[in-house]
């Protein structure tokens, strides 16, 4: 158990170090001055330049420089945005939670809607219901996310006028950003009508969540269905049936868990797609998330921001993937057979 945890921690650390190294190398790969790419500060004169260079260790070799870079990353000194002049750590910590929030709701939707539908389709495999669900999910899965988001805006915002086009919360509500998660911030704010604010936030959330979630939901339905069909054909299901267990008993005791085990790693892969989609959709809905922020940084050629943004997003994806994999490792009893060998 401790060994497993230790191995995952080591894996996680190494991946993060590699990511940091890549982000460090970006400072040299981007056009322009290395010093400016690393800090975001343009030195006014030679003295200042020499002072910053000494601080960054620029006169020494790459490894020492990388060591200083890691040290600054850990200390929270991520440099300054060359466009806005604000500390990047602050900017990222405002933008990233917005994306995480949006992705969480979309993932929640995918799990709550997609997995039960997938189970249903898998249990009723090769029936009309199954074919309907399957073709629906293939259709949804094939939508390009930006197009789907635009259609949603067109239908629900412009034609039916049931949801706002863009933004996170109506400007009428003055909510201070404490955690970065809008729902929590609303609950923490004390001078507003909470009920109204939450309703407003939900109506803002509705379209982007559906736009991102629909595609992941469709993927979930397909993954789950396949896994359930696989499990239903295993000999132990036939054996359970021959023992006279009812379909419900078989489903709850033997199908659910066994079908879920292969889904979890695939779910981790879906997280990557989900966050990518979220970054695209944010731009369309002017959602103040990391995707929108990165896009602005690209327009303004804000290299320090790009370097840090890439590091933050990839660290997030890696963390989630490793957590899901660790969880899967902990609940799947048969996976330790590969470590110990079988009798």
């Amino acid at each position: 158990m401790i060994q497993v945890l230790l191995r995952y921690v080591v894996l996680f650390t190494i991946t993060l170090v590699v990511l940091c190294a890549m982000s460090f190398s970006l400072a040299y790969l981007f056009p322009g001055d290395v010093l400016e790419n690393l800090t975001g500060i343009s030195p006014q004169n030679e003295f200042q330049r020499a002072a910053i260079a000494r601080q960054l260790g620029l006169e020494q070799n790459y490894f020492v420089q990388f060591y200083y870079y890691l040290e600054r990353l850990l200390a929270g000194d991520w440099g300054y945005s060359s466009a806005s002049g604000l500390p990047l750590l602050e900017e990222v910590s405002v933008a990233l939670p917005a994306t995480i929030e949006l992705s969480t709701y979309a993932m929640f939707m995918a799990i709550v809607v997609g997995i039960p539908l997938g189970y249903y389709a898998g249990v009723k495999c090769y029936s009309t219901t199954d074919y309907t669900l399957n073709s629906l999910s293939i259709t949804t899965y094939s939508f390009p996310v930006f197009w789907f988001a635009l259609v949603l805006i067109l239908v629900f915002s412009l034609q039916l006028d049931v949801a706002p086009i863009s933004g996170r919360l109506s400007l009428l509500f003055d909510v201070e950003s404490v955690t970065g998660f809008i729902m929590i911030d609303i609950l923490l704010a004390d001078n507003i009508d909470h009920g109204l604010a939450i309703r407003d936030a939900l109506s803002h959330l509705f379209l982007p969540t559906v736009a991102i979630g629909a595609i992941t939901t469709a993927a979930m339905v397909r993954i789950t269905r396949r896994s359930v069909i696989d499990v239903m054909q295993r000999p132990y299901i036939a054996a359970a049936r021959s023992r006279g267990l009812s379909s419900w008993q078989i489903f709850f005791r033997h199908v659910i868990r066994n079908a879920l085990l292969p889904i979890l790693p695939l779910m981790a892969i879906q997280i990557t797609t989900l966050i990518t989609n979220a970054m695209i959709v944010e731009t369309l809905f002017s959602w103040p998330g990391i995707g929108n922020w990165l896009l602005q940084a690209i327009y303004q050629q804000d290299y320090p921001a790009l370097r840090v943004g890439m590091l933050a997003v990839s660290a997030l994806v890696v963390t989630l993937t490793i957590i899901v994999d660790l969880f899967n490792r902990l609940i799947d009893p048969s996976r330790d057979r590969f470590e110990r060998g079988t009798i």
Binding site: R234, A239, R241, G244, L245, D332, R337
Partner: protein, 331 residues
Amino acid sequence: MAMLDIKNLTLEISEGDTTIKALDKVSLSVNSGEIRALVGESGSGKSLIVSAICGALPAKWKLTADRMSWNGENLLSMSTQQRREVMRRDIAVVFQNPQTSLDPSVTLGEQLEESIPEEFVKGQWFWQRAKHRKKIAISTMHKVGIKDHNTYLKSYPHQVPSDIGQKFMMAIALVAQPKLLIADDPTRGMEPTTKTQILKLLTRLNQTRALSVLFVSHDLLAIASMSHTMTVLYAGQTVESGKMKHIKKRPLHPYTKALLDSAPSFRKDLPPKSSLPTLKGSIPTLQHLPIGCRLGPRCPRAQRECVVTPSSRRIHDHIYSCHYPLHREVK
């Protein structure tokens, strides 16, 4: 009257535009309190019969029978619910491969406990019931010869040796106190000591609890010592069936004779260092089944009539299907 009575069971599998008769008019019956052996080479359809009895065949395969009844009740026309009840209370199956027939994500203890019918469990409250359930599980484990119950109740199927897995399959089958136990090659891949233990256990249960056993195997030696009656299967057709001692003494079908001759333990007159007689060729695949008597191309006594499927004939309770049985002279 026979408990399990199957007459002319035919299983048709359609593959593209052709239909294959994987089982062709198989008849099989198990009387109360007897051990019936079902013998045949690999690919002769033994496991298909087992699956047909426990209703685990895919719905697309067409299963027809003149009669397939359990204690007089028709198994084929039964509702799913009734069928399930029969499987839960009366018939238990031990499958070939314990590693794949046990759920890999559930502990062995849970799998054993879920097979205990509710009416066996005493106690008012769920903790009392859980305790009693565990007691039943442990005593069943001891019965099949697993001593270290504490370890194995908590183990997952991949953590135990395969003979323990097989014994667990037996325990799961026996815990519901069935009337008929279908053992689909339960001693496959076991070393002789464990095999003997399992066979002894089956014999003892048969004697003490009047448990009927349908023993499916190709291990003639094991079967011959314990079973009362025997049915021989070849390529999905029943070849011969009858009392074990009659068949052993005087087989009527050429295939049965070849089968018995190939086992040296049944031959007293076998000279030292002589080669064992076998039939030429091998069992045909399902795609290339011969018409008529399926043994035809390999049979030393085959004649022109053998392209017609022989009807089953009966001498007392010895049934065989052959145009030229061994007690009759070939013209």
